[in-house]
Symmetry: D2
Subunit: 134 residues, 4 copies
């Protein structure tokens, strides 16, 4: 079951066409990621303090229908792949009221040693938690 | 009593100093404004469809303590002034956990005729609702 | 030959990891697109006034090396596909100084009737100009 | 004489009212600041490596006329005050073509010890360069 987060579109995220700018769907994915990690008990700051980081190495989104100011976005997020050194989120963004799909995509993340900026094995204390929501 | 909204800091809003970039405190104010108007029954889209708009003519913020990723922001928002053609929001941003003040500021808004981009009197159906939260 | 635009990384585009946030590579692509269209004599505002719009229907980016504040970004942009109703940009983002590749990706755009938000054939006055840089 | 930087409005910076969102005028100020410091030979990264940082403690902007996509922004920037531990930028944003003033404002900066996040005296190697453009 995916993790779900709903929130209203921010005015600042719209553009002169009257719709949410395409880059902001990735912002909305990330807002859901923040909440999901929090509920899983994964603490970004702890990850950084341990000398790790989790930069994104791939991002993709396909857009079906525009979101507008006044709409409520519903982000569905799941961990769709857990590799040795990377994992992948798949997300969908729906319009809360109509349940129409606005967009879907994925983001791939690599676990790194922050000082060397080199990929490393995902530590077990993270892997175990990610497995819970796969 | 001010309107209050709490939410976690978005990762994308931080900068390389490790703190929320100063411009994003205005984003956080605006997120609270969106929720407040919704609860007051003021609908931006209705305002636009009626041929009005509410651009900002002044923005000020004073920064006391940085917000960081992992922090929960608590925005306190009130309507502090209602003029003939303008109104003014005052906001404070606190750290939810510690209740320390991160920033405070104001934003002044002018009611305009959207086509002419000229200031006009605030219509009564808006004024009445704004008065409720002054 | 791709269109090339160089500019320094904006501080606001960095995040607490000290690198340009992944969403901002799409911002940088779009900044190059704006300049390229201008030099081709394609005017967005004219497009809108004629009742068209050009929303994005797909966005992809692969990240190789981080960009940091102080770096100069060099965006290489080309039109890699022109269909009946869509066209596609391919972009690379390099570090100006080292010429190392930071990221590459593509963005697919659909020509639409703005009022109906429905795909239409790319008008000839646009197609001809896009062909010039394919 | 103020430092001047011109660049086209970014599409992503507009909002559903068709104008540059008020927060983005601070982005435009900061883009000019980056270029100005570079030409003065002040290197942010060097400042950080020496253990300093320069967070903003006050930001103000007054908006006169909207900027739209297709406009060229012209930022005029000057150092208007240099105190013991702080300095202040004043900026104006004009429409390049018409020279009409879109906005003006200021940003106050405090020199800090990054580790303690406490204000300190502006070091001489910075003060001397700032004096040059006061």
């Amino acid at each position: 079951m995916p993790f779900v987060l709903e929130f209203p579109v921010d005015w600042v995220d719209t553009d002169a066409l009257g719709i949410v700018h395409f880059t902001n769907f990735f912002r909305y994915f990330e807002r859901a990621e923040t909440e999901m990690l929090k509920r899983l008990g994964i603490d970004y700051n702890e990850i950084f303090e341990k000398g790790y980081a989790i930069p994104r190495v791939e991002a993709f989104c396909k857009y079906y229908k525009p979101l507008r100011y006044g709409d409520q976005a519903k982000v569905l997020l799941r961990v769709s792949e857990i590799g040795d050194k990377h994992y992948k989120y798949s997300f969908e963004i729906l319009n809360s009221k109509t349940n129409e799909k606005n967009a879907e995509g994925y983001v791939t993340i690599v676990f790194i040693d922050k000082a060397k900026f080199k990929a490393i094995q995902i530590p077990n204390f993270i892997r175990e938690k990610l497995e819970l929501i796969k």
